[in-house]
């Protein structure tokens, strides 16, 4: 115990063992999944261009610190809340790098937000200021993803239809930046609403 090399080798062996058993082995066993099917019926479904850019905005803004992207079916009340129909599976994430599985749920799980929140306008208002759509929420306003500008000529058709109290002064309009557009496209595309045979669902668990 008195010598440095002894401690070095001991720590090396232990950490390597943990690495080999808990990381290398499972990755070898299950870290090479391939998507199933092609085209429309591909599982998992692919995100398109704008939504992929939105993924980057999601990462930049650190949404992962308040939102998870994993539906649990075996415990908890995710299914009862309508956050998904089945357990999220490794296959759902094979196209993603990095993944936003997350740790904290200050807000709802977003793995399937695209299936339950389908209205783009809702998302724009919500990002501009969550108090508009969800009074009492503690989600931060992302007004800096929007531009407040003077109306020159005809008003933009992209301008937000803000309720009383949130409107800019007369003669100005609020339009989303490309980042906001991308983020909304990402929200609309986020979904795991396809079948994966092995995935636990409440019905399957009931038969067990």
């Amino acid at each position: 115990m008195n010598r440095g090399p002894f401690i070095f080798i001991g720590v090396l062996i232990i950490v390597s063992l943990s690495w080999a058993v808990t990381l290398v082995k499972p990755i070898q066993e299950a870290g090479n999944l391939a998507p199933i099917g092609k085209g429309e019926s591909r599982v998992p479904t692919l995100l398109a261009g704008l939504a992929l850019q939105g993924r980057e905005v999601y990462q930049e803004q650190g949404c992962v610190n308040c939102h998870t992207q994993q539906t649990l079916a075996t415990v908890g009340s995710d299914i009862a809340r309508g956050w998904g129909d089945r357990q999220s599976m490794p296959l759902d994430y094979v196209d993603q790098s990095p993944v936003f599985t997350g740790y904290n749920r200050v807000g709802p799980d977003l793995a399937n937000v695209g299936t339950r929140r389908t209205d783009a306008d809702w998302h724009y208002l919500h990002f501009y200021n969550p108090q508009i759509t969800s009074p009492g929420s503690n989600m931060p306003p992302y007004a800096f993803l929007f531009e407040t500008r003077k109306i020159i000529g005809p008003a933009s058709n992209r301008a937000l239809d803000l309720p009383e109290g949130y409107r800019p002064e007369e003669g100005y309009e609020v339009v989303p930046t490309p980042e906001a557009n991308a983020l909304v496209a990402y929200m609309l595309g986020l979904s795991q609403a396809y079948d994966i045979e092995e995935a636990p669902t409440p019905e399957k668990l009931a038969y067990k």
Binding site: N2, W19, M89, S137
Partner: protein, 493 residues
């Protein structure tokens, strides 16, 4: 004028007029004064930054419009910035300063090379600045404790290697062949960080593992960062301070080997317990749960050793500032580890998963245990390094109580509030906002705790700057200010 002289001498200290009895210690101290002081300066700076960020984060959770016009400071960025400033900024600087000093002192011989320590210490702080800047700029990674953008990683790594090499050289240069528990932990922490950081960078960013396995690697890294790096540095200081500052040998010191190896063994997988129920291989999470349970073994040895040693000289604890910090740290360690073990139980995870409960346990472990241990050690090092007495002990007293209360409040509100939050989140289908309104009290309480903690840290910074700048009194220049501390047991063996 005096101020400028003092500023100068704190940067380029000289030892003229120091006492004579402690000649050997003083040569060691002077050989690394600049470098260790540099790390401590960094730690105090980052502690202030982290407490400010922590305060902002906690306010934003109940008042989302607070500072919301600053996009770079929105919750999603401030939250990872807070944790990273706390760990890589404060705890690493402080912990490395403590173990570097301990290794050199226990070695009994000046090691030289202090230029290496100073330069790599500086580089470390630059790397942390780059990392935080990256988070604010929008380059964060979505993995806990790996949020620093990938371009900060090489700097962080290179700087750590420099510090690590210095610590190894200082250990090699030791005069005594035998070694003491503090030295084992210091070395283990250094080795582990190099190892786990390389693995995490390689498997997530260089050759990314598929999909969810990146999260598995990140959970492994996050757990090990706490268990194999930060905690060992804190153990090193506790094993050192109890005999040195309290004059009480470690009761049951013979058991230290068991505690050491079992702690390293079980910690090395305990972080995986957070993966239960998710889209991860279930058995990997189970390994984590079992490993967390294993922590019970080292926990009981540590509890026995530390508590018996402290209680054996109980009346002296409150007189010695450093030991008071150790006392707090030991309690925080016991509670945090017990909560980690309990919190890995499936039944409990069903309530606490995804709530702030886990943040609370982490906070207690990092701040209450490691942070308090390092602060106690810094208060032990400073008078020796600078050959001055603490100019205002009552300020340091105040700091201890305010920090202690702040940490307690934050922990209770996160742990208990997290429990209440999780019970509604996982056990009912209540609306998110309804749950939020229900648990708002705890969010406010967290803010109060964070305010207290920040005040305590401010007092700390004042104390620190004060002792740096205060002129040395007559007494300090002539007398042997510092009584020789007792030798550690290993020298008898």
């Amino acid at each position: 004028m005096n101020l400028i002289c003092n500023l100068f001498s704190s940067v380029f200290p000289s030892l003229g007029g120091d006492g004579s009895q402690r000649e050997r210690e003083q040569t060691i101290d002077s050989s690394m004064r600049f470098a260790v002081l540099g790390l401590i300066k960094g730690s105090v700076f980052w502690l202030l930054v982290a407490s400010l960020l922590g305060l902002i984060v906690s306010i934003k959770l109940h008042s989302p419009s607070y500072l919301s016009e600053y996009g770079w400071l929105s919750y999603g960025k401030a939250y990872p910035a807070f944790w990273n400033a706390l760990v890589y900024g404060w705890l690493f600087n402080a912990g490395l300063a403590c173990v570097a000093w301990i290794i050199a002192r226990l070695g009994g011989r000046p090691s030289g090379n202090s230029g290496l320590l100073a330069i790599s210490g500086g580089a470390w702080n630059i790397a942390v600045i780059i990392g935080l800047f990256g988070i604010f700029k929008g380059d964060q990674n979505p993995y806990r404790m790996l949020e620093f953008p990938s371009y900060a990683a090489p700097f962080l790594f290179a700087a750590f290697i420099g510090i690590g090499i210095w610590i190894l050289l200082a250990f090699k240069a030791r005069a005594y062949r035998s070694s003491y528990a503090s030295q084992w932990y210091a070395l283990a922490g250094v080795f582990s960080f190099v190892w786990i950081f390389s693995i995490a960078q390689a498997m997530i960013f260089c050759m990314p593992a598929q999909g969810i396995f990146q999260s598995v690697v990140a959970a492994w890294f996050g757990g090990n960062l706490l268990g194999l790096v930060v905690a060992p540095f804190a153990f090193a200081t506790i094993y050192y301070l109890i005999p040195k500052a309290l004059g009480q040998h470690i009761v049951g010191y013979r058991q230290s080997g068991i505690a050491f190896w079992s702690w390293i063994f079980f910690s090395s997988a305990a972080g995986l317990a957070s993966l239960v129920n998710g889209p991860f291989p279930a058995w990997v999470a189970s390994v984590g749960v079992v490993a967390s349970f294993g922590l019970f073994l080292p926990l009981s040895v540590f509890t026995m050793q530390f508590l018996s040693s402290l209680f054996a000289s109980f009346s002296k604890i409150w007189d010695t500032l450093s030991v008071r910090y150790v006392f707090y740290a030991v309690f925080a360690f016991i509670v945090a580890t017990a909560l980690t073990i309990l919190g890995s139980l499936r039944g409990i995870q069903e309530v606490t998963q995804f709530s702030q409960f886990n943040d609370g346990v982490r906070y207690l472990f990092l701040v209450g245990f490691a942070g308090m241990a390092f602060t106690g050690m810094v208060y032990y090092i400073l008078p020796r390094l600078l050959n001055k007495e603490l100019p205002n002990p009552s300020l340091a007293d105040l700091q201890f109580w305010v920090q202690g209360l702040g940490i307690f409040l934050v922990t209770v509100s996160l742990v208990y509030g997290g429990w209440a939050h999780g019970a509604l989140l996982n056990g009912s289908d209540a609306d998110t906002i309804a749950i939020l309104q229900n648990t708002k009290t705890y969010l406010f309480l967290t803010t109060i705790g964070s305010v207290l903690f920040a005040i305590g840290n401010f007092a700390y910074a004042v104390s620190f700057v004060w002792i740096l700048l205060s002129p040395r009194t007559e007494k300090e220049q002539s007398a042997d200010l510092i009584e020789p501390a007792p030798e550690l047991e290993y020298t008898h063996s």
